[in-house]
């Protein structure tokens, strides 16, 4: 099975713990969202998976084989990241050619289609592109290589709304034409929420959510009403945050609601979206530190 499995991955820089006991499995042909606040270690984790840096401890296995670093399957994983690993003075068509050589195969058709759609001139040098166009170019490469698992780290950096929309469509097109695992690490949660099947949320060096999107959304509620009614109802439920608006009291819940408990008339129970839940889940300690 083309499963990528991380077991007890830990990363320390000096005394600072960046990742602590990360256990994750990336299943084949699934679109993942890897979410986390700034500096939480998303990129570090992706760099470890793709063998750009080493973990302090823990193992990564691919197709049930533990990887040791030397035998890392270069062509099975591909990371598109913010850091620029290409020579800036190289022309785009040269970079495409080199990537194709290095990765063994390349989807020329999709590449040409994306270059035309976004208006990228293959004769230009990488250094002549704006931030947004550089992102588009790198995302294009990531979608055209034959990797089984593609990691897109902030694939929409510097892209305007139109280009983001186009890129999402190309991601889906690439996925449909050749299903593979795609991991989207991004801040723009709202836009990718419907694109993903499985959510992984990193917070404070650990994985706090690793569930199908559907499950996460089913447990995300906002319950509002008079304070005492809300509090009575929310007892023993996992409360993420509360807010007060005059006499209106609002509780954000991440839990299954008890089916046996009757819902009082004066309560309003609604589902909230992934972004809201993400904010409430990851806010807590961030704010306390300030």
């Amino acid at each position: 099975m083309n499963e990528l499995k991380l077991t007890q991955i830990t990363k320390q820089f000096g005394h600072q713990v960046i990742l602590d006991d990360i256990n994750l499995t990336f299943k084949p042909n699934t679109i993942y969202g890897l979410l986390g606040r700034n500096g939480v270690g998303k990129s570090t984790l992706l760099n470890i998976i793709t063998n750009r840096i080493f973990a302090s401890s823990g193992t990564i296995s691919w197709q049930d084989q533990a990887l040791t670093g030397r035998d890392h399957p270069v062509q099975a994983f591909y990371l598109m990241s913010e850091t620029n690993l290409f020579s800036k003075e190289e022309r785009l068509n040269k970079i495409i050619k080199n990537t194709a050589l290095l990765q063994g195969q390349f989807d020329e058709t999709l590449s040409a289609e994306m270059m035309t759609a976004f208006g990228l001139n293959p004769k230009k040098k990488l250094s002549q592109l704006s931030t947004g166009y550089r992102t588009i170019f790198k995302a294009m490469l990531a979608l055209c290589v034959p990797a089984e698992v593609v990691f897109l780290d902030e694939p929409i950096l510097g892209l305007d709304a139109n280009h983001r929309e186009m890129l999402y469509q190309f991601i889906l097109k690439a996925y449909e034409e050749r299903p593979r695992t795609i991991v989207l690490a991004t801040h723009l949660i709202e836009e990718i929420a419907n694109l993903i099947e499985h959510v992984v949320i990193l917070n404070e060096t650990q994985v706090i959510i690793d569930e199908p999107l559907e499950t996460v959304l089913a447990k995300s509620y906002r319950i509002s009403g008079p304070e005492e009614v809300v509090q009575a109802y929310c007892q023993e439920l996992n409360q993420l945050a509360t807010e007060q608006l005059g006499t209106l009291y609002i509780a954000y819940i991440y839990d299954q609601l008890p089916t046996e408990r009757e819902i009082p008339d004066r309560l309003t129970i609604e589902h909230v979206d992934l972004q809201q839940t993400f904010i409430k889940l990851t806010n807590e300690r961030g704010n306390r530190d300030v």
């Binding site: 889906l172 097109k173 449909e176 836009e191 419907n194 694109l195 099947e197 959304l217 609604e270």
Partner: protein
């Protein structure tokens, strides 16, 4: 409008419900083709597996059927099935709420019946 999504229920169910609504209102008549999984997923940036799950619900319910190599088509019996299902749910979904609201507004049963009569006259 068809294909507007919210947080109220799982996305796959919204997809199923909205295609059902399209069949009910005649946008997708019997024997016509409904949008494909690929079309829906790309048009609205939805995960293909989610769209497929919604479609499969409709297939299981017998509202659409797959024609190999052609796509998904509305079945002959779909409109009748939907009408029957909605008639069964009408009391629970509409009548109960209507009576509850009328009571809160201090409308008597006679007054409510009169209002319903008026609604029919205006048709």
């Amino acid at each position: 409008m068809l294909f507007e999504f919210n947080n109220d229920e799982p996305l796959y169910r919204q997809i199923a419900n909205q295609i059902e609504e399209g069949i009910f209102t005649g946008i997708f008549p019997p024997d016509s083709q409904v949008p494909s999984t690929t079309e829906l997923s790309r048009q609205f940036n939805l995960n293909p597996a989610t769209v497929l799950k919604g479609m499969n619900q409709l297939v299981t319910a017998g509202l659409i059927e797959k024609k190999r190599g052609l796509g998904m088509f509305v079945t002959e019996t779909a409109p009748a099935q939907i009408t029957e299902k909605r008639q069964a749910a009408f009391y629970q979904q509409h009548v109960q709420d209507l009576v509850k609201e009328a009571k809160q507004l201090n409308l008597t049963k006679t007054a409510l019946l009169a209002l319903i009569e008026r609604g029919y006259d205006h048709e």
